[in-house]
């Protein structure tokens, strides 16, 4: 959340309310909705850490406007976030451990676990797939690409399940 706010403020100094609207516009269906309180709490925590600076613009006929701007330190933190590369393969280690455990315990058939998991993955894939084919998606490429990313992961997971199954089948022979 913090990093997203920094990214939004990096463009131009922004009023807290505008910030909230920008956030809503871009991430409403993807991320949980924020209320004004949460935004202001986050912003004041960032101000405290010296990442943003608050200034007040006096307006003649309206209440004064408080505008947040990125500090030098804030810029550095943002840059550091961008520079940080995601490392390592992501594996559903939960399921891996479960599968291994099932094999060890001898009380559960691992292939049944695989079947159940495959069904689940396929169901999710089905959900994502139907969603991705909704007409509105063509106008919303940033959402589509997120869904497709997830689908590719699921596809990989499904293929990995095939490998697991093959391993157990061969072990059984």
């Amino acid at each position: 959340m913090k990093n997203l706010f920094l990214a939004l403020l990096a463009r131009q100094p922004t009023h807290g309310y505008e910030l909230m609207q920008m956030y809503e516009g871009m991430f409403s269906t993807v991320l949980p909705t924020l209320n004004a309180g949460q935004i202001y709490t986050t912003l004041s925590r960032m101000e405290r850490d010296g990442l943003v600076r608050k200034s007040t613009i006096v307006q003649a006929h309206r209440p004064d406007k408080r505008v947040y701007a990125l500090t030098e330190k804030g810029g550095e933190v943002l840059q550091a976030w961008f520079n940080e590369v995601l490392t390592g393969p992501r594996i559903k280690d939960n399921f891996y451990l479960k599968l291994m455990g099932a094999g060890l315990s001898g009380t559960v058939d691992p292939s049944q676990l695989i079947k159940n998991q495959r069904r689940e993955y396929l169901q999710t894939l089905h959900n994502l797939n139907t969603l991705s084919l909704e007409p509105e998606m063509t106008e919303n490429p940033s959402k589509l690409v997120l869904i497709q990313g997830a689908m590719l992961h699921l596809k990989a997971d499904l293929e990995w399940l095939d490998l697991c199954e093959e391993m157990f089948n061969e072990g059984a022979r």
Partner: protein
């Protein structure tokens, strides 16, 4: 008893290859309900294409029964099966398989004309399908002038022109990049939503997951099958997704 559009009983296909027997299909029981979309999934060589060919009457089983819309396919001669195919079966292939020397329009009209429709009727249906699939302007082109996605649309239009009982699709996106594959999947779903019964044979989970039911095949046998549920609250899905992925 439930009525099936397509049903196989103990379907078996054995190839002879240099004296040794290859069991392409072993005792396959499969049933497809009207309006259903079924995917047959499995690695290459599992017999899913052979199954599709037999279901479409392109090949004959060694033993077992195939019923399509109440007619028994496996007892028919090649010519009888051809006649049955005209009205009952629409094919979509991985390699598009459009006829290269016929224009797009002629490709689509051909099955209609073969099925005995008048030229005028065939043209009417062709135009409606071209319109539906968004390729009205390509009618006079020949397949070689089209992109892969456009060709598969023509293939779909051709498969649908006789309003077949069942649409059989063999790896319909196998030859396409992900963007055009997406387009073709959309059209397939749209077709299904309009009530078309579809059977897809594929190795791609993306394609398979579009179906209501996925049947898994290994070594000529059906090993498993999964029924997929439609979810209404797709809106919350994305939120879950990012949490899931982010978490």
């Amino acid at each position: 008893m439930e009525t099936y559009l397509l049903e196989t009983k103990q379907l078996t296909k054995v190839y002879r290859n240099n004296g040794s027997k290859v069991h392409a299909l072993q005792e396959v029981d499969l049933a497809v309900k009207p309006g259903e979309m079924v995917a047959v999934m499995g690695p290459s060589g599992c017999g899913k294409s052979t199954l599709l060919h037999i279901l479409g009457g392109l090949d004959n089983p060694t033993s077992g029964e195939v019923h399509i819309n109440g007619q028994r396919l496996d007892k028919m001669s090649e010519a009888q099966r051809a006649v049955l195919r005209r009205k009952q079966v629409g094919f979509m292939f991985q390699a598009f398989n459009l006829i290269g020397n016929l224009s797009v329009g002629d490709n689509i009209e051909l099955p209609a004309l073969v099925a005995g429709l008048s030229v005028r009727q065939a043209r009417k249906r062709r135009d409606a399908l071209l319109e539906d699939l968004g390729i009205s302007d390509k009618s006079r082109n020949i397949p070689a002038q089209l992109s892969g996605g456009e060709r598969q649309r023509v293939a779909l239009a051709r498969a649908l022109v006789n309003q077949p009982t069942i649409l059989l699709a063999d790896e319909p996106t196998g030859n396409l990049d992900s963007k055009t594959a997406y387009e073709v999947l959309r059209l397939l779903r749209q077709t299904h939503m309009q009530g078309q019964t579809i059977l897809i044979v594929t190795n791609d989970p993306n394609v398979a997951s579009l179906a209501q039911r996925v049947v898994f095949m290994r070594d000529g046998r059906i090993i498993n099958e999964t029924i997929l549920q439609e979810r209404d609250d797709t809106k919350t899905l994305l939120v879950e997704l990012l949490n899931l992925e982010g978490g």
